[in-house]
Amino acid sequence: MTIFERSKKGRRAYSFPEYDVPEVDLKIPEHLMRSEKAELPEVYEVDVVRHYTELEAKNYSVDRGFYPLGSCTMKYNPKLNEDMSALFRWLHPYQPEETIQGALKLMYELKEMLMEITGTDDMTLVPSAGAHGELTGMLIIRAYHLDRKDYKRSKVIVPDSAHGTNPASAAMAGFKVVELKSSDEGLVDLKELEKELDETTAAIMLTNPNTLGYFERDILKIAEMAHEAGALLYYDGANLNAIMGRARPGDMGFDVVHLNLHKTFSTPHGMGGPGSGPIGVKEELREFLPVPVVRKDGDRYYLDYDLPKSIGMVRSFYGNFGVLVKAYTYILTMGRDGLKMASDMAVLNANYLKKLLSEFYPIAYDKDGKRACMHEFVADGTKLLKETGVKTLDVAKALLDRGFHAPTVYFPLIVHEALMIEPTETESKETLEAFANALKEIVEEAKKNPQSLKEAPKNTPVRRLDEATASRKPIVKWSRK
C-alpha cells in the first residue's frame, strides 16, 4: 500500500507551537498564489511509522547481510560515524567563519589525511559523488591544457573495462572518448595504448586495480608513456580499497585522483546516495581546483575562493559535509595501521572466495584459477549458460532466495555473463564459505533443474518484475484510479 492510500482527510502527523506573530497582508498577486493545495498525504504519526517501517523491512542492506557488489565496496558502515555526523547537523554554510572553525578544521584535517593516502598535493572535498568527482577532475585536466595553450587535446582514452561514468564524465567535460581494448590478460594493452596516444590525447582514465580485479602491473610504464605524450593520468578511485595504506596513486604517476568516501571510507550508500567524491591533484593542477578550497592560516581555518584559474564551482556550498564527518571518523578509528589492514583483508577475502568458487565456477581471465586478484574478481557464467541455459541473471536471483545480495552482474561489459564479486574486509571467513556454498548449490541445481532457477526468486517481497512494460508505458507517480 502507498502512503497516499493510507491518507484520510483530517488526519495529521505534525503539531505547531502557538503562533504569536501578528498577521500581515502578504501582498502577493492572486494569480501567483496556489489555486489548489498540493495533494500530499494526510496521515497521523503512527501511519508514518508503520508505513516506513514496512517499506524499510523490504530492503536488503549491509546491516542485514553479505552484499558483494563488485566495485561498490559494500563494507560495514560503523555506527559511531553516524553519531559523530549528527553532532554537526545544525550548521548553516554562510555562518561567519569564526563560528564554524571546528567544522573547517575537520575538513582540513580530512583533506590532509586523504592527500597523504593518495599521494597528492592538494584536494577539493566539494564533489558529491564519484561521477561528480570525475567530471571535476576532467574539467581540471581541460583547464590545465587550455592554460598551457595546448588546444589540440580533445581526446580521452578509457579502457573497455571502465565504469560507464568514465566515458560519460569525459564526454560531459567536452572530450571525445576513445575506448581501449583490453589485452588477453584483461589489462591495458601497451601496444594499443601506444597507437592511441598522441598530441590530441588529454588524459587516460584508469581504474587500478581494474574492474576485473587485476592490478595494472605496467602502471609505471603507462604513466611514463602518458606523460611523454603530454597527457595526464586520471585515477578512478572506485577500487582504492585494494591498496589503501600500501600504495599511493600519486606515487604511481597519477595526476588526478578521485575517491569515493562512500566506498573506501565506509560512509553508507543510503539507497544510492549521498556519496562524496573528493579530487586530489598534483602540484601543477592545484590552481584549477574548484572553489572553495579549505585552507589554514596560522590557527585559523578558512574557505579560499581566490583561485583566478579555478574551473569555478561544481555545486553549491562546500560539498557533502555530513558525509565528510563520517569518513573523518572512520580514518581516525582505523588509523594508518587499520587502513592497511583493511586493504590486506579485503584482498585476502577476495582471493579466498575466488579460490573457493574456482572449483566450480570459471574466473574471468584466469584459466587455471591461480592468478592473484586484488579486492574483487569476476566469475564468468558463460559455460554455465551454454551447458544449462541458466543465465547469470538467474544465478543472481537464486542468490537472493538464499539470503544474499547478488554480486554486480553483466559488468564489466567485456565478460558477457559476468558476476563481479567484491567481498570487502568486513566479512568473515564463515560468511564467505556460506556464500560459496550457496553458489555451489545453485550451480548444482542448474544442472538438475534449471527451470527452478528461472523462477527465482520466490522468497522475496516481490518476484521478478515486468521491466519491459514499466519502460514502455512508464507510470512514474501514484494517481487515484
Binding site: 521491466e467 519491459a468 519502460s471 514502455r472
Partner: protein, 125 residues
C-alpha cells in the same frame, strides 16, 4: 528477397528503388524486450553506414545503421506505441522505415539470407 548487413539490419526492395528496412530476427533476440525506438524523420537522408536511429531494450541501447544510402520516405509509426512488434515480427510487421535508394548497386555488397545465417554461425564461434 531480403538482404542483410553485418550489423544485423535487413533491407528488401518493394518496387523500383523503394526499400523497407528493419533489424533481423537474430538482432531482436539478442536485444531482448524492446521498449523504445526513435523513428527517423521522414525526408531525412542517410549515407550507407550512417546511424539511422537507436533502438532500446530494458538494458541496452543499440544504433541501427542505414544498410543503403537514400532518403527516408516513411516510418513505421505503429512502433512508437508498440515497439514490442519488433520482438514479435522483426522481419515483417516490425519494419522500421521505407527508403528511396540513391544507389541500388549498394545492395550487391549485402548478404543473402543464407550468407547471413552462415555469418551468424561464424560469429557465434
Amino acid at each position: 528477397m531480403k538482404k542483410y548487413t553485418k550489423t544485423h539490419e535487413w533491407v528488401e526492395v518493394i518496387e523500383g528503388n523503394k526499400v523497407k528496412v528493419g533489424i533481423s530476427d537474430h538482432a531482436q533476440d539478442q536485444l531482448g524486450d524492446i521498449v523504445y525506438i526513435e523513428l527517423p524523420e521522414v525526408g531525412s537522408e542517410f549515407k550507407k553506414g550512417d546511424t539511422l536511429t537507436t533502438i532500446e531494450s530494458v538494458k541496452s541501447a543499440e544504433d541501427i545503421y542505414a544498410p543503403v544510402s537514400g532518403k527516408v520516405t516513411a516510418a513505421n509509426e505503429e512502433l512508437s506505441d508498440h515497439p514490442e512488434i519488433i520482438n514479435e515480427d522483426a522481419e515483417g510487421k516490425g519494419w522500421i522505415v521505407e527508403m528511396e535508394m540513391s544507389d541500388p548497386s549498394e545492395l550487391n555488397d549485402l548478404m543473402t539470407k543464407e550468407e547471413y545465417e552462415k555469418f551468424l554461425e561464424e560469429e557465434e564461434g
